[in-house]
Amino acid sequence: MNEYQPRIAPPPGGGEGMFYDTPLDFEIEELARVAMRAMRLDPLLTEVVRLRCAEYHDCRICSSLRIVSAVAEGLDEEMRQKICDYESSDLDERLKVALRFTDAMIGDPGSLSEDLRREVNAHFSAREIAEIAFNIMKWSFQKALVALRLEQPPWDGLAGLSFDGVGETVITTAAGVS
């Protein structure tokens, strides 16, 4: 997990922020905040989608985080493992459909099948699908960090992830809140 070295100098501040405070960074961060402020989906579904993106993009920092409210709703490490092979798991069908949609969007979005289209529309409203899609976009910012291998978490083990009233990320480590 730790064999990668940053391909450019990490941002000032030891990597906690993961951003260089450029105007584009600001807009990307605001896009993430907007996605979180608009969130109406349940935390478990949100977290399952986020963890799938983390696995697919091989993002170390995302994999080290757990949404606190999802943990409160029952997400544990056994469930996290099921996401890796969700088709053969006993995860709820609604979660599986969300994961299939996630895989399609981050894998081959041009080949979304008619069957999946029916499943997605059977389980989610158009507004919910839009929310999931924007969430996938948010959770995929890590692609930029993975490309440059800037996604080394500055903490050991797992950390808690939550969002404040404006959608700002709050990370809670064993040492406190960063």
Binding site: L24, P109, A126, S140, A144
Partner: protein, 161 residues
């Protein structure tokens, strides 16, 4: 693809964008601002080249037209566009442009397999800040393309229940 098809696809893309705007108004507005910032911060011509390559890869066709959502009116020489699907052997693209497209392709297909040498190829002519700006901008246009394709494929742009 005939011009009629191009016009129909353009109209469908416009309808899809409007539908997504209606479903997630604040997200869509912020996405448009983020796309503006991407073109302002990264080299616009290299980003436009990659925007078109992303569309080719995700839509599975050398004739593919990227979503109009990310179109900021950057005009590229016809020779570069014609050579884009066989860029490796093309003399129309510079080494710097090829380095951008190579990284873009790997970013689209499997970001975790981008190599040190692919990033170093960009560093031959670009500062670290420019590399970071390009990769961040690439994320924006690539995910916008994926968003449009996924939302259209899911049929979520047809109804607004």
């Amino acid at each position: 693809m005939g011009s009629g098809s191009v016009e129909r696809n353009g109209a469908a893309a416009g309808e899809a964008a409007e539908a997504i705007r209606a479903l997630h108004e604040t997200g869509f507005a912020q996405l448009e601002r983020t796309i503006d910032a991407a073109f302002a911060e990264a080299d616009p011509e290299c980003l436009e080249l990659c925007r078109r390559r992303v569309a080719q890869l995700l839509r599975g066709s050398a004739e593919a037209t990227p979503t109009s959502l990310t179109d900021r009116g950057i005009v590229l020489p016809a020779g570069k566009l014609a050579a884009l699907d066989r860029w490796e052997d093309s003399t129309d693209l510079s080494a710097d442009e090829k380095a951008h497209v190579a990284l873009c392709e790997q970013f689209v297909t499997s970001v975790s397999h981008i190599s040190d040498s692919e990033v170093q190829a960009l560093r031959a002519t670009r500062t670290e800040q420019e590399v970071y700006a390009f990769v961040s901008a690439l994320y924006v246009i690539e995910l916008a393309e994926r968003l449009m394709l996924a939302m259209t494929g899911a049929g979520a742009t047809g109804g607004h229940r």
